[in-house]
């Protein structure tokens, strides 16, 4: 420790760099090994569930009439929402010159990419015949079949694929200087070579940095409206439908707020153990937890406001089915425990503890709150998707949905796959944007 402090005095930038870069070359810890094996096994379960879905068809899921959309779309909306906080932290906070994002943006962006990867799986699987997914792309086919632009599905396709592409680009461009640092710092031919190639020959000259800063702000400026558009488009999957509980003009902003809310909860869920395990509590400090918690509280209130308006609109509409869905089917219907114990407890009650400064700065107190919010936001999407479909306009064809084993395996599998990718990220990518940190150290804003 004393040695480290000495080094920090002598070569502060090198010490900072090594703290982030050196773990890339260290052997796996037993904990890392165990988690890696566990998540790899879970990813195997995902693969098996996907195989079974392909082999058997969508009938392998619990979907039925009237609940034709259930876990698949719930998981899709859940995962894509998770991603939004990552982009928000990396892009929107750049535009606002919020320097505290520096320590967590790499991690949050990684979370975005891996979450969107999970999200992208579900619409593909839900196509029924996923091997024809390219029909969504307008190419001159011999059958003269074109996509139907008035359907929300091509919108989703455009929005999600753009989102994934832009997130990866933003992540990678932001990583270039750190890959160059890894190229310089890591011993061993192959490792050095791989990072060297990934760094693309970055040399960090003054003119490079100037152009780089311009490009970074441009990407941030593009990603910010993009992230808002993506969840708005996702919400249109529902809002363009006539099902009670879906057909509401509040949906786009409501979904964006929910997405950010769930995303901030997920960022905290990931950051809290990572900073502990990697011993980087001085890089990701209690201050960061505090700021993230405040964002969580703020977006939480946006969500609460949306709930109030949504229920108000349902009441004000005078539509009996709208009123029934919101005031009877959701709170008292077949999924009432999901509504009360997950959605309301997680999204409305749990965040209120964040008014306390002590809670906001305590990892131990924050973690359960964030897990409750994660569960709550998943439950909210489930209520919207399955809760609404199970009680639509024809009481004679009302029906319930229960997840099949394949459904549960897919949900569990995507969590494992997400964890697996995130572990790989922790293992092979500089988890903190070191070049930005050095800039902060040199000239604090």
């Amino acid at each position: 420790m004393i040695e480290l402090l000495e080094r920090q005095k002598e070569r502060p930038y090198a010490a900072l760099t090594d703290e982030v870069i050196a773990p890339l070359a260290e052997p796996w810890s037993p904990l890392g090994h165990a988690l890696f094996v566990a998540t790899a096994a879970g990813t195997g379960i995902l693969a098996a569930a996907i195989f079974w879905t392909f082999f058997h068809g969508i009938g392998a899921w619990g979907n039925n009439q009237p609940v034709a959309w259930a876990f698949g779309i719930t998981n899709f909306v859940f995962w894509i929402g998770i991603g939004h906080a990552g982009t928000f932290i990396s892009a929107f906070l750049v535009l606002l010159n919020q320097s505290w994002r520096t320590s967590i943006n790499r991690l949050a962006e990684a979370m975005t990419i891996f979450a969107v990867t999970q999200a992208g799986l579900f619409p593909l699987l839900h196509l029924g015949r996923p091997w024809f997914f390219y029909w969504l792309f307008p190419y001159p086919a011999t059958m003269r079949v074109w996509p139907n632009w008035k359907s929300a599905l091509p919108w989703d396709f455009a929005a999600v694929s753009t989102y994934l592409t832009v997130s990866v680009l933003f992540w990678y461009v932001g990583m270039l200087p750190d890959l160059a640092a890894a190229r310089a710092r890591l011993q061993g031919g192959l490792r050095r070579r791989i990072y060297g190639v990934l760094a693309l020959g970055w040399k960090g000259s003054g003119s490079d940095w100037r152009l780089y800063k311009v490009a970074y702000v441009l990407l941030a400026g593009l990603a910010t409206p993009l992230v808002i558009s993506v969840h708005s488009v996702v919400s249109l999957d529902f809002a363009t439908g006539v099902v009670p509980g879906w057909h509401s003009t509040i949906f786009p902003p409501y979904f964006v707020a929910g997405a950010l809310f769930s995303g901030f909860a997920m960022v905290l869920t990931l950051v809290i153990p990572v900073r502990k395990v990697f011993g980087i509590e001085h890089l990701i400090t209690a201050e960061h937890l505090d700021k993230l918690s405040k964002m969580l509280l703020l977006t939480g209130w946006c969500v609460i406001y949306s709930y109030v308006i949504e229920f108000f609109l349902a009441w004000k509409s005078g539509e009996p089915f709208d009123r029934y869905t919101h005031f009877v089917a959701w709170p008292l219907g077949p999924y009432w425990p999901v509504f009360w114990f997950m959605m309301i407890a997680g999204n409305v009650v749990a965040p209120q503890f964040l008014w306390s400064r002590r809670v906001r700065r305590s990892p131990v107190a924050l973690l359960p709150i964030c897990l409750m919010v994660n569960a709550g936001m998943w439950a909210e999407r489930f209520m919207i998707v399955a809760g609404s479909l199970s009680r639509d306009f024809l009481p004679s064809s009302w029906g319930e949905y229960a997840p099949s084993v394949t459904d549960l395996a897919l949900l569990f599998g995507t969590f494992s796959f997400f964890g697996f990718l995130f572990l790989l990220f922790l293992r092979f990518v500089p988890i903190v944007a070191v070049s930005e940190l050095k800039e902060e150290v040199h000239a604090p804003r």
């Binding site: 930038y13 074109w146 632009w149 008035k150 359907s151 488009v233 800039e439």
Partner: protein, 320 residues
């Protein structure tokens, strides 16, 4: 080109600013963006935002036209009685494709502007340069700025050349293994060539005649530097001892390079010796290009020491 290393970001920025003021090119290399560097060269490349803006419009317009052609022209499809050309329904994809085109253009433009990817560069052959992405600060400039670089506090100067890229195709050429005209510690309080206006230092002149005292502080490092330069540039003709006993001199029988130990030379004021180096003397050409001002004075100082050491009578050479 020269690559100079500096202690920290502030020193680097200061040096870059000074060099640019003197009209030299100066490119910095740093592990992080240097804020004030951005102010140094305003406006910062305004072309990328324009390009990205154009890409956004092109992407969006193309996407809209494709949707319109498909839905309204090529195969109009009646969906719920909505008109084939439904602008509102076309908005999401139009927007997303505009963003996609703009983002791709940003990244391609960035890489093109930085001339990346390119895995090999002449700078990379300089030892320690890889740490420019960790905690070291470098500056590339013209060779003629070497004296100024020392004065600005460079820790180390290495010559590197774009030619290395051409010959570098044969083998990895580590520039550090080769002749390095610049790798040295500067003499204390060295004088830069391009700043001197004082004729006593720049020309060795005072009033109507030559200066009689060396006008810069004579220190041990200066003498050592002088010895080094003398043995590189002077000794070939004048001899390592300055006595004019060399192969070159033997071949120049008609007019030998003179012994610098002669009484006549000893009596010359230092300014005259300086002038001979700077402007040449007889058949000797000017060494101004090889020896910057402080090096000339270093040689003069060393020559004086040489003259003293070579004229001590044998009985007075005993150690004290």
């Amino acid at each position: 080109m020269l690559l100079a290393e500096f202690d920290g970001p502030d020193e680097l920025l200061h040096a870059a600013r000074e060099l640019r003021e003197k009209g030299y090119p100066a490119e910095t290399y740093s592990p992080f963006a240097l804020e004030s560097e951005e102010e140094l060269e305003a406006p910062p490349r305004p072309w990328l935002p324009w390009l990205v803006g154009i890409a956004f419009v092109l992407g969006a317009v193309t996407a809209y036209l494709v949707q319109w052609y498909v839905a309204a022209r090529d195969y109009p499809l009646d969906v719920g009685g909505k008109p084939p050309h439904s602008p509102l329904a076309f908005v999401p994809i139009t927007f997303e494709m505009g963003i996609l085109a703009a983002a791709l253009t940003t990244v391609v433009g960035l890489l093109a502007g930085m001339r990346l990817p390119r895995l090999s560069r002449p700078e990379f052959e300089v030892e320690g340069f890889e740490d420019a992405s960790v905690d070291r600060f470098f500056l590339a400039t013209h060779e003629r700025a070497s004296a100024t670089l020392w004065l600005l506090g460079a820790k180390r100067i290495v010559a590197f050349t774009l030619l290395a890229l051409l010959v570098g195709g044969c083998d990895l050429q580590r520039m550090t293994d080769q002749h390095r005209p610049g790798v040295r510690t500067p003499p204390a309080r060295a004088i830069p060539t391009n700043e001197i206006v004082d004729p006593r230092i720049a020309e060795g002149l005072e009033g109507d005649g030559f200066v009689r005292e060396i006008p810069i502080p004579v220190t041990r490092p200066l003498l050592e530097r002088g010895r080094d330069r003398f043995e590189v540039f002077c000794a070939a003709c004048h001899g390592v001892l300055g006595n004019g006993d060399t192969v070159v001199a033997d071949r120049m029988a008609l007019r030998r390079p003179r012994s610098l130990l002669e009484e006549e030379v000893r009596k010359e004021p230092v300014g005259e010796l300086y002038s001979a180096i700077a402007h040449g003397y007889g058949l000797m050409t000017s060494y101004a290009a090889q020896l910057p001002v402080e090096d000339r004075w270093a040689v003069v100082a060393y020559l004086r020491a040489l003259q003293v050491s070579q004229s001590v009578p044998a009985d007075r050479g005993a150690p004290r």
